[in-house]
Point group: C2
Chain length 163, copies 2
């Protein structure tokens, strides 16, 4: 084979190496993504689908607050429930929903937050395609713990415009 | 030029296109890294160095909570201060410190959290080399706002084992 062909083959090898380095960088960034630990699978009738909880706070009772990181597999969600002292959600991964009873569901992205007033009946959870994670901070817990109601049925979940 | 050389040139063009797509993917992931927006530079005597605040919560006064994302440039920090209702810190980026008055400074990494009891005099901020960010949630704010004291001097900051 002639010289120009040999050189172009050498150039091919260099380019292929370059592409592989690019792929490795990409994978590293993916692996470093989650900010907070996923914790343990929740075994509870208050959730639909697989949900993980990394319970963090509530060591100091003078704060009247309990908080942890909650991760939902696609389609997983809480039951309908309310908090006597209210709750804050800080979205750390993926896309999901918050819905207050009788209102349209709100689409949530990584970086969004939700302020849930005391005693408002609501649910939160993942969209249909992506894992979804948020820090949940229950506030004014001296007013009492969460009041749990029935599941969000597949019909109720299906009523939303999914993404 | 001969046929095999023409084919290898065509292959080069395809590979170069492939590499460019890879780069774009990589850049997108980089840009989506910070979980919460950085917000605006704080202009206040209660901080040393450059600090950014993205104020989020406190729209609903029934929660008695105010929260936002705070980003510190390397060496930037709060003054000594306390909160009548206590505060929670959720570390979202980098490495920094929390120190309660009279106690050793605590090194904090992305994913860590701190529960600060009511009226404990403390400071928090970045280590010497990395930008540091946390969500700060002030609790039980019906008990009053933060009580601000003097700066953390370079001597006090220098006393820590930095990383």
């Amino acid at each position: 084979m002639n010289h120009s062909f040999k050189y172009s083959l050498l150039f091919l090898v260099i380019l292929i190496a370059g592409c592989n380095v690019e792929k490795k960088t990409d994978e590293t960034i993916h692996n470093s993504e989650p900010v907070f630990l996923k914790g343990e699978k929740i075994s509870s009738n208050n959730f639909t689908g697989t949900v993980w909880l990394n319970m963090m706070g509530a060591n100091d009772t003078t704060l009247h607050a309990r908080f942890g990181n909650v991760t939902f597999e696609p389609k997983a969600r809480t039951n309908w429930h309310s908090h006597p002292g209210g709750q804050i959600l800080l979205i750390t991964e993926g896309r999901g929903y918050y819905q207050a009873k009788g209102q349209p569901a709100r689409l949530l992205h990584k970086g969004d937050y939700v302020e849930i007033p005391p005693n408002v009946i609501h649910w939160h959870g993942a969209g249909p395609e992506e894992e979804f994670a948020h820090i949940a901070i229950s506030l004014n817990t001296d007013e009492g713990g969460a009041v749990w109601l029935g599941p969000v049925t597949d019909e109720e979940y299906g009523e939303m415009n999914l993404y």
